[in-house]
């Protein structure tokens, strides 16, 4: 048990040990994000990208839950989001990645803090909110929809039918994204808590 873990639960700042833990877990989360991106693009092509947050949420539960268990201090989840936003931004995704990756993790951190990083319901809710952090890359999908419609119109296609189809796609796809992400986050979060209980708590690292 290090000083940080033993006495430091009351300290406000993230220690060196905490920062390094956040870095390591961010790397793992980003890895899982990448794997999820591969899966959705291979299965559903480019439109599949809207399922990126959902698939990531399904797989990354253990990473989030173990981080929350090891660094029980406000700021860890937020910093993980900021780091992810930075990395996604540099990987060429739209700047909205930076915004979503800061706003949602910050909210998630607040929710987790309410439950003192221990309450299981708070952690699940926190993870569900956090999972929208990687929704940044899919915002261009809606923007591209607009641009594609505009380019079609420039080419003189039938606007009425296009508008009708695209409008439908727009509304439903937003709902689909939100519902799928929350559902997958609940499953992934449950898996993460289960892994914490069965393995990491027993081994003494959570």
């Amino acid at each position: 048990m290090t000083q940080e873990m033993a006495a430091g639960r009351t300290r406000a700042k993230l220690s060196v040990s905490d920062m390094i833990t956040v870095g390591v877990f961010s790397a793992l989360y980003f890895c899982i994000c990448g794997v999820a991106m591969l899966i959705v693009n291979l299965c559903f092509g480019l439109p599949g990208t809207i399922l990126l947050p959902a698939v990531t949420a399904l797989l990354a539960g253990p990473v989030f839950m173990l981080l929350a268990a090891r660094v029980r201090r406000f700021g860890a989840i937020t910093v993980m989001g900021v780091v992810l936003g930075f990395v996604l931004f540099l990987a060429g995704h739209f700047a909205t990645s930076l915004v979503t990756a800061i706003v949602f993790p910050l909210l998630a951190d607040c929710i987790a803090q309410v439950g003192r990083h221990r309450n299981r319901i708070a952690l699940m809710a926190s993870y569900a909110v956090f999972s929208f952090g990687c929704a940044g890359p899919i915002v261009p999908m809606w923007m591209m929809r607009g641009a594609y419609v505009a380019s079609l119109q420039r080419k003189g296609k039938d606007t009425a039918t296009i508008d009708a189809i695209m409008a439908n796609v727009n509304g439903t796809s937003l709902v689909v994204v939100i519902v799928a992400t929350i559902a997958c986050a609940l499953v992934g979060g449950w898996l993460g808590l289960r892994m914490n209980r069965r393995h990491f708590a027993k081994a003494g690292v959570a």
Binding site: M19, G23, V79, M143, A203
Partner: protein, 227 residues
């Protein structure tokens, strides 16, 4: 002399500005011609440096997709499913300049310079340290994964997908915890977390070439705004 830098080496902050510019272009729905010019512009750092191959491949991909769009357009009436191909090509074309800019920034910047640039931009330590750790740990994940896969192949298989997930993630996460602990100990003895300013080996300066590069990157944005 400790690290050779070519004459065309740009400050990381310039490359960051390039990424921002690429984002603005996408935001403003820049027409294809400006987009193409921008793509080539953003690939210049790659082409000018040791990562020439990547630059060539990315530009090849971009112009290949443009060609696909042109090829598809007249046939769309007869074969409506080609809409999907065209749309995908168009979507990728929109995202590629951003990706090229990002790749340029990441692949041609030395990690030490990148950290220095972050500190100069007053990014708080609590964000810089995790980013450095991420850069150091990320490449090792692949190695760990391979070791775990090897170990799995020598053990009895399982048909339960939950078990399969356990078997892979548990060793991976345990290893991550151990590495984090060892890294902390080593970093503490090397002074990480000390009070006082943290300096860097790199001496970054915005030079004339940076100003020129930034101006060049602003041109497509300005054009997109007014055209």
């Amino acid at each position: 002399m400790l690290a050779s830098r070519g004459p065309l080496y740009l400050d990381p902050r310039t490359k960051l500005a390039m990424v921002v510019s690429s984002n603005l272009l996408m935001f403003l729905h820049a027409p294809a011609s400006i987009e193409a010019v921008a793509a080539v512009l953003f690939a210049v750092p790659l082409l000018a440096g040791p990562r020439r191959g990547t630059g060539v491949r990315m530009l090849g991909l971009y112009f290949g997709l443009v060609a696909v769009q042109f090829a598809v357009a007249p046939l769309v009436g007869a074969l409506p499913w080609l809409h999907l191909l065209g749309a995908t090509a168009a979507a990728l074309c929109m995202m590629l300049p951003c990706m090229i800019a990002g790749l340029s920034a990441v692949l041609t910047t030395r990690p030490g310079d990148f950290v220095c640039a972050m500190r100069r931009m007053h990014v708080p330590t609590v964000v810089v340290v995790p980013i450095v750790v991420l850069m150091r740990f990320f490449p090792t994940i692949r190695h760990d994964w391979r070791q775990i896969r090897h170990a799995q192949r020598l053990r009895g298989g399982t048909r339960n997908p939950l078990d399969a997930l356990d078997r892979t993630l548990v060793p991976l996460l345990m290893n991550a915890v151990t590495v984090a602990q060892d890294l902390t100990v080593a970093a503490l003895t090397k002074g990480l977390g000390a009070d006082g300013p943290v300096t860097s080996l790199a001496q970054l300066r915005l030079r004339l070439r940076d100003a020129v590069a930034m101006a060049l990157c602003a041109v497509p944005v300005v054009l997109a705004l007014f055209l």
